[in-house]
Amino acid sequence: MPAWLMQPRTGGLLLLAVVMVAVYLAAPNNFYLDVAIQIGLNAMVVVGLNLLIGYAGQISLGHAGFFGLGAYASAVLPVHLGIPPLAAPFVGMLCVGLLAFLVARPVLRLKGHYLAMATLGLGLLVFMLLTNESQLTGGPDGMTVERLRIFGERISGKDWWYLITSVMLLLSVWLTLNLIDSPTGRALRALHDSQIAAQVAGVDVARFKVIAFVYSAMLASLAGSMSALYSGFVTPDKAGFLHSIELVIMVVLGGMGSTFGGIIGAAVLTSLPQFLTVFAEYEHMLLGAILMTVMIFLRRGLLPGLLDSLRRRRAS
């Protein structure tokens, strides 16, 4: 196999694109396509969040807050400020980026469990704001979102959104892989291994943490906007604690510091509950048991863990 095919930036992206086409062709009906779109949207958030958790080594239990802000940006901005629906996601993304930038320094100064608590608190504040400002957001019941129109054409079908999600996911993966391979990425990896060693080697630790935080928040916001435009409806649950936890679980399940692992994590955790509904009331027990088992036996996550055991088998 030629060497360029083994590179994540070329071979990996190509493989991802092939899988996307294959899924589209193989999906027996719209239900599977819908699940695939959800996976794609979650994967976009996870790819960014992985940069923060897996590379910069900083946990965030509040990223659903950014996702929710993005979702509400595409719902609220066109109605209340007259911003066209096509521009709203990007305006939202810039605002979220600015917000993330403002809170990043004081928040990222914290370590470990304190950082977890602070990000959790921020996420909850966003959730409460979205739930309680009901004249703006429709309160706990949520609000409808004006459909996207491009050149007068209404973008609402599953096929359209599968295409948009796939393209955006490929773009975010490509951008993230480039970032990881840049001086910024090397600085982030140094940070993960040892913050103090990185500092001694001249890395501006605070600055790179902020970059990872803002980048992941903006990606989450964009994915949130897309999810709102796709489903035509938003509820505050999108910004809730459980969604934040789900996102972190996707990162860890797939493999911290592995961009494609994160996508696998998103695929598994998004589709698992859909298929577990067959077991009706045992759904949660099974989900909890699967989570615990995977994390106990494949501590580094699905993709790195499986690659490791493959390598070991080949060696022996």
């Binding site: 958790i53 946990i59 004081p106 100064r109 914290l110 370590k111 470990g112 469990h113 304190y114 977890a116 608590m117 602070a118 959790l120 608190g121 921020l122 909850l124 504040l125 409460m128 704001l129 739930t131 309680n132 040892s194 103090i196 060693a197 604690f241 459980l242 936890i245 972190v248 679980i249 860890v252 399940l253 911290m256 009331e281 045992y282 759904e283 949660h284 027990m285 099974l286 989900l287 909890g288 048991a289 699967i290 989570l291 615990m292 994390m295 106990i296 501590r299």
Partner: protein, 290 residues
């Protein structure tokens, strides 16, 4: 003044529950460095088991004791089956394992019990007590008194008994504790049992006021975690003070600002404290080893 007292009483009542949940976090964290997000499920199990044991015909006090025992056993099983096999995994992985455990326990409660809200009768009637113009329910006294007793017993256990001291020793340095002959496995087991038992007790005390259901644990775990962090993770005194502060902040926020934003008040205060004191109110200003 009366309204202030009224808010203070309700704040102290919920704060006492948060304090016990925060203590549960602290006990397990000190012994094993694990943040146990299934802590809220212990509280839920305490309440739900008592409700159903008494529905199945046990007298209330017996049902309560049985509920505490069952919950402790579940705590021990959690340690044996999920935490010990993952020894050495990184912090985030361990957090996800305990979140998995909490989803599992919630699902289990849903299957074994049901999805309804349940209540227990107040332990000693509902006649309100008048204190300086504000009213206090007897059950609030039970909650506050119960929490105080638990705190005193835990303090006695950790500072005056050999076994309690061996848990403290393990939390300071596991290897050194093993070298002086402390059975570290037993210590870990005991701390999970103790944490589960205190959580269950809190659940039993508070169920007559707040009701309980299979998913009552999530919010309690969040508040307890917030309280533990506010006080400084790992510090038992901090956990108690943090719990009471979060409870009072919530009640005052609900009373004077808006009931919709009562949770927001507590979290804004926690964020503000963390920005000024990055390791909580009583946390160790530890230096990092390179």
């Amino acid at each position: 003044m009366e309204t202030f007292l009224q808010f203070l009483f309700s704040g102290l009542t919920v704060g006492a529950v948060y304090a016990i949940v925060a203590l549960g976090f602290t006990i397990i964290y000190n012994a094993s460095d694990v943040i146990n997000f299934a802590q809220g499920e212990f509280v839920m199990l305490g309440g739900m088991c008592t409700v159903f044991f008494s529905l199945w015909g046990l007298p209330l006090p017996v049902a309560a004791v049985a509920a505490v025992i069952v919950t402790s056993l579940i705590g021990v099983a959690l340690n044996k089956l999920a935490i010990e096999p993952a020894r050495g995994a990184n912090v985030v992985t361990l957090i996800i394992i305990t979140i998995g455990a909490s989803i599992f326990l919630r699902g289990l409660a849903q299957v074994v019990f049901d999805k309804q809200f349940h209540r227990l009768p107040s332990f000693s009637g509902d006649a309100p007590i008048d204190v300086l113009g504000a009213t206090l329910t007897p059950q609030s006294l039970w909650v506050m008194g119960g929490a105080a007793v638990i705190v005193v017993l835990l303090w006695y256990f950790f500072t005056r008994t050999t076994f309690g001291k061996s848990i403290l020793a393990t939390s300071h340095n596991r290897l050194a504790a093993r070298l002086v002959g402390i059975n570290v496995e037993l210590v870990l087991l005991a701390s999970f049992a103790l944490s589960a038992a205190t959580g269950a007790l809190a659940g039993i005390l508070v169920t007559p006021i707040t009701l309980t259901s299979f998913d009552a644990g999530t919010m309690l775990a969040l508040k307890g975690f917030a309280a533990a962090i506010l006080g400084g993770m790992g510090n038992p005194l901090g956990a108690v003070v943090g719990g009471l502060l979060v409870g009072i902040a919530e009640a005052m926020g609900a009373g004077y600002l808006s009931s919709e934003y009562k949770d927001a008040v507590a979290f804004v205060i926690i964020l503000a404290v963390l920005f000024v004191l990055p390791s909580g109110l009583f946390g160790r200003r530890g230096t990092e080893r390179v």
